[in-house]
């Protein structure tokens, strides 16, 4: 799936670029983005180490497992594959909370941590599990308490009430989350029903 998207973006970009006389711009964009990606990675490096380090302490002291135990009743519908006190649950909860509070810097490292834990439970290491897909969907449609970035942009643009969109953001993101979760559950059921006949 990602193969085709990647192929599509690049090929469409190059073809449109050549035919609209932007061949040079497109080439420059390719090279600039490649070096830009390294800056993004290096920017992530410090926070990533900070959070994986902190999470290691939280795991050793049993804090993560305790959080996992507390969150289990809520999350067991979404993540049926996870045991009661599995560290993945703890990392998932902390990632979702970071997203909810708009702490982007913390959310990504915690999310990757959760993926590492989910991967330990994965029998087929190159294929996503249902739990992983559900986790990704929750992350892409993250519900945020205060959409701080947008509020700052609106305030910079001279809005009379920059924070007024908070309610519409809540409505839109909660609808998106519900749609995503429903889609993930439905597609997972569809996959399962489609896979069984093949195995027999």
């Amino acid at each position: 799936m990602l193969d085709y998207i990647w192929f599509g973006l690049l090929v469409l970009g190059f073809i449109v670029g050549i035919f609209s006389g932007r061949a040079e711009t497109v080439t420059k964009a390719a090279i600039d983005s490649a070096s830009g990606a390294v800056s993004v990675g290096i920017g992530l490096l410090g926070v990533m180490c900070l959070w994986t380090g902190m999470m290691a302490i939280a795991e050793k002291s049993g804090l993560v497992q305790r959080i996992a135990g507390l969150a289990r009743p809520v999350l067991k519908l979404l993540f049926p594959g996870l045991a009661r006190r599995h560290p993945a649950l703890g990392a998932i909860v902390m990632n979702l909370v970071a997203n909810f509070l708009g702490l982007g810097n913390a959310a990504t490292p915690l999310g990757i941590k959760a993926m590492n834990e989910l991967q330990k439970l994965n029998p087929k290491k190159d294929t996503a599990t249902d739990d992983m897909s559900m986790f990704l969907v929750l992350n892409t449609a993250a519900v945020q308490l205060v959409p701080a970035t947008v509020i700052a942009l609106r305030s910079a643009a001279g809005s009379l009430n920059p924070a007024e969109i908070t309610v519409t953001v809540w409505i839109a993101s909660i609808s998106a989350t519900l749609a995503g979760v429903t889609a993930a559950k439905a597609l997972s059921a569809l996959c399962k029903s489609g896979f069984r006949p093949k195995r027999r």
Binding site: L2, V40, G53, Q119, A128, T140, S159, A172
Partner: protein
């Protein structure tokens, strides 16, 4: 509102304090364990980097080529039937693929149409209600080496489409069209 804002401000210090104090209380060698854990972070970032380069190059080329304009042109009739303002349509397509580019686009839209216009509000709501899907997918799956992502992208795009649709609807009902 102030209380909600404070929750974001105090969250990180409180979480760090909680982790450190529980650690010491349970007899964990906090600094050694921290350093061991931080190494895992280093390894992860190095593992992500190749997929990040691949993704960002593809997005950079796509954006620079002007292909987005073509897609927006093709999708415009459908969008207007669904009540999505045409001026906010480029954002609907840019948001899932690039966070920084869509931030710049929202800023342009707010300047051009005003933050308190219908278009400005729809754009703000769209920006706030979804994440950059392709970045999240690349980083999270890239970090653990998943190649077959199965239905994840379809489900994420379904959520995204709903957020675009509901953003326009909610702004229309709550603020009206002005």
């Amino acid at each position: 509102m102030d209380m909600i804002k404070n929750a974001s401000v105090y969250a990180i210090p409180v979480i760090f304090l909680l982790i450190l104090c529980t650690g010491i209380y349970k007899g964990v060698k906090v600094f050694d364990v921290f350093v061991e854990g931080a190494k895992e972070g280093l390894a992860t970032v190095i593992r992500i980097l190749p997929s990040l380069v691949g993704l960002l190059v593809a997005i950079g080329v796509f954006r620079a080529s002007g292909a987005l304009d073509l897609i927006v042109f093709a999708a415009a009739p459908v969008a207007s039937a669904l009540g999505i303002p045409a001026e906010a349509l480029p954002l609907a397509f840019l948001r899932p693929i690039s966070g920084s580019a869509s931030l710049a686009l929202v800023s342009d839209i707010l300047k051009a149409y005003g933050p308190d216009s219908f278009i400005g509000r729809v754009a703000s709501t769209m920006m706030g209600s979804t994440e950059t899907i392709f970045y999240t997918l690349t980083v999270y799956f890239g970090a653990v080496g998943i190649k077959n992502i199965r239905y994840t992208l379809i489900a994420a795009l379904a959520a995204d489409a709903v957020s675009v649709l509901v953003s326009s609807m909610a702004c229309r009902y709550i603020f009206g069209i002005n």
